[in-house]
């Protein structure tokens, strides 16, 4: 009996000790809802970074990191806010990796993160509306995904380099399509180009001849299709080709996919496009690191790893797990100067920081935080040759 008591007491002490050196980080993603097929890989990516740090035993003298998952639902802002509130108040997390969709991310930031002074790093919210130029977020919000405003600028550069100065734009009628089309129009017109028409199309319709009729009437050297390759975007391209309205196109990220080659083949030769991608060695080493444990190429899984890594590296740099202390360090660890850090090298990074050195976190997605703390964004510029998607370069 005495032994048992002793053992219990010892365990309790040990547990207590462990408790003292444990830090919790929330992972809030839409584990149910329209992104439920990719969020498990995103969550796994973030948890892999936390496990790597815990295993290294380097974070603030051997602290362990425990992930706490919560469901953002992607679309239900009220439910997402409740889930995030629970993370902060009940679970006592010291940072939030998330959320995923732009709408719920904004809601959590406004209602939970800012009032509680909690740091949030989103791996996938791309709405330009989340760029807080005037510090509305108190410097608490970052993202490892680029804003679609950035994609608009990249598109503008590609088109102008091709000598295209007049385009028609057709976008899918939702936040993604409208945000991208508007930011592209702003960038393109600022650079001296002309958008002849910026019209919406509804996704998943049977017939787009009326939409294409309007686009053709407005004219332009090229048609920009900010839609989905599995939905109305392909319908627009089909109708435009059939009526001879346009014969070359420009495709942003939602349109670039194997389905595009399959649907149109050589008919769209000479068309251009871009989607997030990097030739940084980090992408390859991330895939090696993941192995078979989850799908490393799933959308935003590498961004999730990077988001979680940034939180922990900032904690180390600040020497504190309190969001108020380490928020200011996120930009420092993400950007130059300092030693470049790739996936799987978190232990090395923690060591350098511990010794007072500088790091430049590159990670799986070549992270470079600009402006109010969002990824500069790396894009793969593509063109169609012989019916195949061909990479031109990275920008």
């Amino acid at each position: 009996m005495k032994k048992l008591l002793m053992a219990t007491a010892a365990t309790a002490l040990l547990a207590g000790a462990a408790q003292a050196s444990e830090v919790k980080i929330g992972i809030i993603l839409g584990f149910t809802g329209p992104l439920e097929s990719i969020t498990p890989h995103m969550g796994a990516g973030a948890e892999m970074a936390m496990k790597e740090v815990t295993d290294s035993g380097m974070l603030l003298d051997g602290m362990t990191v425990t992930p706490v998952r919560a469901d953002s639902t992607c679309i239900d802002a009220a439910a997402a806010v409740v889930a995030a509130e629970r993370l902060v108040t009940a679970d006592g997390v010291k940072g939030i990796m998330g959320a995923d969709c732009s709408g719920v991310t904004g809601a959590i930031l406004q209602n939970v993160a800012v009032p509680n002074g909690m740091v949030m790093i989103s791996p996938s919210a791309t709405s330009p509306g989340l760029s807080h130029a005037n510090n509305e977020d108190n410097g608490l919000f970052f993202r490892t995904a680029p804003s679609d405003a950035r994609q608009g600028v990249v598109m503008t550069e590609i088109l102008l380099e091709e000598g295209i100065t007049e385009v028609a734009v057709s976008y899918v009628n939702n936040d993604y399509g409208k945000g991208l089309a508007d930011s592209f129009q702003a960038a393109f017109e600022a650079a001296g180009g002309k958008v002849t028409i910026n019209a919406a199309h509804e996704d998943q319709k049977a017939d787009y001849s009326a939409e294409v009729g309007a686009l053709a009437a407005a004219g332009g050297q090229r048609l920009v299709v900010a839609g989905y390759v599995d939905g109305g975007g392909s319908g627009i391209v089909r109708a435009a080709l059939d009526t001879g309205a346009f014969d070359s196109f420009h495709f942003p990220d939602g349109m670039v996919g194997a389905k595009l080659e399959e649907n149109f083949g050589t008919e769209i030769d000479g068309s251009t496009g871009q989607f997030p991608g990097t030739d940084s060695p980090g992408a390859a080493s991330f895939q090696d690191l993941v192995g078979d444990s989850f799908d490393a190429t799933s959308a935003f899984a590498p961004e999730s790893y990077d988001a979680a890594a940034l939180i922990m590296l900032a904690m180390q740099a600040a020497g504190s797990v309190e969001p108020g202390d380490y928020a200011a360090k996120v930009m420092d660890v993400a950007n130059a100067p300092g030693e470049q850090i790739f996936p799987g090298e978190l232990a090395k990074a923690l060591e350098i920081l511990k010794n007072g050195g500088d790091i430049d976190y590159v990670g799986a997605t070549a992270v470079e935080l600009i402006g109010p703390g969002e990824s500069a964004g790396n894009y793969r510029q593509i063109t169609f040759e012989g019916g195949k998607i061909t990479t031109v370069k990275f920008r």
């Binding site: 009628n173 019209a199 919406a200 049977a206 001849s209 053709a216 009437a217 001879g244």
Partner: protein, 336 residues
């Protein structure tokens, strides 16, 4: 030359698509109007009947394609069409025996039959989704174009292209054949005459020895054929997706009502009125006007009355106007 370009641009983006769409609507509206004239209720299940007929045709088409049977330049679906019609007839006759006959015997009011048809609509909707799924299905094959945009440009040297898709040509030809056969049937044959008699005055028709069950049976068979043909043509020309067939219900009813419910000529006219209004009102006229007008008067804006998002609203508005000012429709159908 400029005027020619204007005409070609108009033909390419307005006239040809509207004629094809109008033919499809007209065939759909004929089915609705026949049921209204003879069975005396608005059949809300018509859109899903079209989807069912098209679905059977698609399944047979896939089977034929797998077996290596094709029609050369024409779509294989035309070969599968008779089987689709048979399948659709079977469905409608079974539905009539199982559901509608019960209410007919009770002499139920038309409004009850309308609600019943809604129930039937949901069930058919479910069957189609259960069998073929809610997604887009492609079944068109053969030559895609009669004249493609590129060929036309080379041939004529005009700036504006003109494209006529095979499916658009087939739609028009089939629609003309079907309408001619239907009118011949209704006006010249004994069964057709008895159907019209039954439609004009049920009691008198019964007194003169017309068998009502036979008339009903023939009506369903003709409606099944019309619905399947309309559904397949729409699917060939655009794409097959169960939900879009359900959405077609609005323009089809608008066409039937605008033309005059119960009047077959009206259904055809209504189909074209709706199709042309939808397309012309949402068309951006800038290009055509730039060609047609002297340079000084060329428009700067798009000259578009309504954004294309409001396409369906156009059928609504036409429906409202007709119901307010001419409830019997353009061709004196029955008052709704």
């Amino acid at each position: 030359m400029d005027l020619l370009n204007a005409v070609i641009a108009l033909a390419n983006f307005v006239i040809i698509p509207a004629i094809a769409y109008g033919s499809q609507l007209a065939l759909g509206a004929l089915g609705v109007t026949l049921i209204y004239g003879i069975l005396r209720f608005s059949n809300f299940a018509h859109g899903d009947t079209m989807a069912f007929g098209a679905m059977i045709t698609i399944l047979i088409t896939w089977w034929l394609q797998a077996a290596g049977v094709t029609l050369g330049p024409l779509p294989t679906a035309l070969l599968a069409l008779p089987f689709g019609i048979l399948g659709c007839i079977a469905l409608l006759v079974i539905t009539d025996r199982a559901v509608y006959r019960f209410y007919r015997v009770q002499k139920a009011k038309p409004v009850i039959l309308v609600i019943v048809s809604m129930g039937v609509m949901f069930i058919m909707n479910g069957i189609v989704r259960f069998v073929i799924g809610p997604d887009d299905q492609r079944f068109a094959d053969g030559e895609r174009f009669i004249i493609s945009a590129g060929t036309f440009r080379e041939m004529t040297g005009l700036a504006e292209p003109l494209a006529i898709r095979t499916s658009q040509g087939i739609t028009l030809v089939t629609a003309i054949i079907v309408v001619v056969v239907l009118f011949w049937f209704l006006n010249r044959t004994r069964t057709g005459k008895s159907m019209r008699a039954y439609s004009d005055n049920e009691d008198l028709a019964l007194l003169s020895g017309i068998n009502p069950e036979r008339v009903v049976l023939y009506t369903w068979m003709i409606v099944a054929a019309l619905a399947t043909i309309a559904g397949v043509l729409y699917g060939l020309d655009k794409s097959f997706k169960p939900f879009t067939y359900f959405q077609l219900l609005l323009p089809i009813f608008a066409a039937a009502i605008v033309g005059g419910l119960g009047n077959p000529v009206g259904a055809i006219a209504g189909g074209f009125v709706i199709a042309f209004s939808e397309v012309t009102i949402t068309y951006a006229w800038k290009k055509v006007l730039t060609y047609a007008l002297p340079e000084s008067m060329a428009p700067e804006g798009l000259v578009q009355l309504l954004s294309t998002d409001y396409k369906f609203a156009v059928s609504f508005v036409i429906l409202l106007i007709v119901l307010l000012f001419k409830p019997t429709g353009l061709f004196k159908g029955k008052a709704v």
